[in-house]
C-alpha cells in the first residue's frame, strides 16, 4: 500500500470512518422517518405472518410454548428480507450507491453504515412484534436472555443479508433473488436462534443454551469479517 | 434385533439405487455431450462467418 501524499494519521482515518457510518445511519433513519415505507411494510408483513400462523398451526395453549421461537424467527426472517430489499433499492434507484462510493473513505464504512441501519430497522420491528405477540398469545416473552438471542441472531442475519442484498440488487431478478441467496446460508443462525430462544422460554439451564449462544457469536464474528473482506468486490466494477 | 439373524431381501432397492446412479451419470454425460456439440456447431458457424467477412 502506498501512502497518501498528505499523510493522514490513523486517528483521523478512524474519525472519518465513524463519521461516514454515523451519516449513513442518520440518513437512513431520516428517510425512513419521512416516508415510513420500509418499517410499515416490514411491520404489517410481520403481523400478517403471526396471524397466518395462528390459523395454520392452531395455536392452543399446549402447543404455544413449543412453537413460539419458531414462529418468531420465521416472522423476523421474512420481514428482514423485505427490509433489506427496500433499503438497498433506495441506494440503487437514483444511483446513490455511486454517491456513497465517491466519498473518500474505506468502503467497509459504507457496509457498516448500511448494516447498522438495516439492523436498526429489524430490531425496531422486533421490539414492536414481541409485545404484540405476547399479548395475542398470552406468552411472556420478556426474558433478558431471549432479547440477547434476538439481538445476536439479527446481527448475524443482517451481516450476511446486507452483503447479499448489495449483490442481488445489481442483478436482473433483484428482489426475488435475495431470499434464495440468503436463506440457505443463514440456516445456522436460524437453528441456533430458535434453539436458544426455546431454551430461554422453557427455562432450560444455561449450560444447555450456551453452545447455541457460542455458535451465534461465532457466526456473527465470522460473517461480519467475511462481509468486510468481500464488500469491495461487490460494489466495484 | 430380529432382522440381524435373517438377512432381509432388499435387492429391489439395490437395483433401484444403481439404476438411479447410472441414470444420473448418463443424464449428466449426455448433457455435457450435447452442450459440447451445440457449442462446436456455433463455433463452426462463427468461423465460416469470419472467413466470409475477411474474404
Amino acid at each position: 500500500m502506498k501512502r497518501d501524499p498528505s499523510p493522514t494519521t490513523l486517528r483521523s482515518q478512524l474519525t472519518a470512518f465513524f463519521r461516514v457510518i454515523a451519516s449513513i445511519i442518520w440518513k437512513d433513519l431520516t428517510v425512513e422517518l419521512r416516508s415510513r415505507e420500509l418499517l410499515t411494510a416490514m411491520l404489517v408483513f410481520a403481523l400478517l405472518v403471526v396471524l397466518i400462523f395462528n390459523f395454520a398451526l392452531e395455536l392452543d395453549v399446549k402447543n404455544r410454548t413449543g412453537v413460539t421461537p419458531g414462529i418468531l424467527w420465521v416472522t423476523f426472517t421474512f420481514a428482514g428480507t423485505l427490509g433489506l430489499n427496500r433499503s438497498m433499492a433506495i441506494e440503487k434507484d437514483r444511483g446513490c450507491l455511486d454517491g456513497l462510493l465517491l466519498v473518500p473513505v474505506d468502503r467497509s464504512a459504507i457496509y457498516f453504515g448500511k448494516f447498522i441501519s438495516n439492523l436498526a430497522f429489524m430490531v425496531i420491528v422486533e421490539i414492536i412484534i414481541l409485545p404484540v405477540y405476547s399479548a395475542l398469545y398470552n406468552v411472556n416473552l420478556f426474558h433478558p436472555g431471549l432479547l440477547l438471542v434476538i439481538l445476536l441472531g439479527s446481527i448475524g442475519y443482517m451481516a450476511i443479508g446486507t452483503l447479499l442484498a448489495a449483490m442481488s440488487v445489481q442483478t436482473r431478478t433483484r428482489d426475488v433473488l435475495l431470499p434464495i441467496l440468503l436463506f440457505p446460508v443463514v440456516v445456522p443462525v436460524l437453528v441456533a436462534a430458535v434453539k436458544s430462544s426455546g431454551g430461554f422460554l422453557q427455562g432450560s439451564e444455561l449450560a444447555e443454551i450456551l453452545p447455541w449462544l457460542n455458535l451465534l457469536i461465532a457466526y456473527d464474528v465470522i460473517f461480519i469479517a467475511i462481509a468486510l473482506m468481500l464488500f469491495d468486490y461487490i460494489v466495484e466494477e | 434385533m430380529s432382522f440381524q439373524e435373517i438377512t432381509p431381501d432388499t435387492s429391489v432397492y439395490m437395483i433401484a439405487g444403481f439404476t438411479v446412479f447410472f441414470g444420473m451419470m448418463a443424464i449428466y454425460l449426455v448433457s455435457l455431450f450435447f452442450r459440447w456439440r451445440i457449442l462446436k456447431r456455433k463455433l463452426e458457424l462463427l468461423k465460416n462467418m469470419e472467413k466470409r467477412k475477411n474474404s
Binding site: 445489481q170 437453528v191 441456533a192 444447555e208 455458535l215 | 432381509p8 432397492y13 439405487g17 438411479v20 444420473m24
Partner: protein
C-alpha cells in the same frame, strides 16, 4: 480447443474401464452385508459420490479465492465447473442415501446432519446458478459468483455443526436406533478394499469430468469472444 486433447481421451477410456471394474467389484467381490442385505452395496457408490461432491466443493472455494485475487476469467470457468460437478454428485449421493435409508430406517429421508447439510448445499448451488443467470456482464458474474461461493463454503461447516448440535441435544433418531441400522456396520476386509477402490475410482471420475467441463467452459468463452469480434 475445438478437439479434446489426447490425454483427455485416454483418461476418458481409463475412467470408463475403471468404473466398470468398480461396479464388478461392488457386485461380485464385496460380500453381502448380513443385517441389511443387498442394498448395502449402494454404500460404496453413495460415499464415493459424496466424496466427489466434497472435492468439487473444495475446488470451487479455492477457485473462488484465486479468482478474486487474480481476476482472471479462467478461475471463474474452473469454479463454475467445480460447482456443477459437485451439484450433480451431491444429488446422486442424496438419492442413493434415500434409497438406502428406505428399507433400513423405513423412511426416505432422515434429518441426519450429513444428509441435511448436503441438501442445503444443493440449495446454495442452485442459488449460485440463479445468481449467475441474472447477470449479463461476465466480469461481474464472475466476481459475484466467487463471492457467493466463498460465503457458501464458509457457511456450510457451520451449518453442519449446528445441525449436529441440534441432533445431539435432541437424540430422537427416526427409525430403529440399533448400531447396524445407523449404518455403522463392521466392514470385513473385502468390503474395505472395495470401499477404498471406489474412493479412488471416483476421484478419477471427478478429474475426468472436471477436465471435460473446464474445456466446455473454455469453448463457450471462446465462442463469446469470436461472436464479439464479429459484431
Amino acid at each position: 480447443m475445438e478437439t479434446r486433447p489426447f490425454g483427455l481421451r485416454i483418461l476418458d477410456a481409463v475412467t470408463v474401464l475403471l468404473l466398470i471394474a468398480a461396479t464388478c467389484m461392488v457386485f461380485f467381490y464385496a460380500p453381502r452385508e448380513a443385517a441389511m442385505g443387498e442394498v448395502q452395496r449402494l454404500f460404496y457408490f453413495h460415499v464415493a459420490a459424496a466424496w466427489v461432491g466434497m472435492l468439487g466443493f473444495v475446488a470451487a472455494g479455492a477457485a473462488g479465492i484465486v479468482y478474486l485475487h487474480t481476476q482472471h476469467i479462467i478461475w471463474d470457468i474452473i469454479e463454475s465447473a467445480a460447482v456443477e460437478i459437485s451439484l450433480v454428485f451431491f444429488f446422486i449421493a442424496i438419492l442413493l442415501g434415500s434409497i438406502w435409508a428406505r428399507p433400513i430406517w423405513n423412511a426416505w429421508w432422515t434429518w441426519d446432519p450429513r444428509l441435511t447439510t448436503a441438501a442445503i448445499l444443493e440449495l446454495i448451488y442452485i442459488a449460485y446458478m440463479m445468481l449467475r443467470q441474472g447477470i449479463e456482464d461476465p466480469d461481474r458474474r464472475a466476481r459475484f459468483g466467487a463471492v457467493y461461493t466463498l460465503v457458501g463454503v464458509l457457511s456450510i461447516p457451520i451449518t453442519f455443526l449446528s445441525i449436529r448440535l441440534f441432533r445431539t441435544i435432541h437424540p430422537v433418531v427416526i427409525g430403529t436406533a440399533s448400531e447396524a441400522a445407523r449404518g455403522m456396520f463392521g466392514m470385513t476386509p473385502p468390503m474395505k478394499q472395495t470401499f477404498f477402490f471406489c474412493f479412488f475410482i471416483f476421484t478419477v471420475i471427478f478429474a475426468d469430468l472436471f477436465w471435460n467441463r473446464i474445456l466446455l467452459g473454455n469453448l463457450s468463452k471462446k465462442i463469446d469472444q469470436l461472436r464479439y469480434r464479429l459484431m
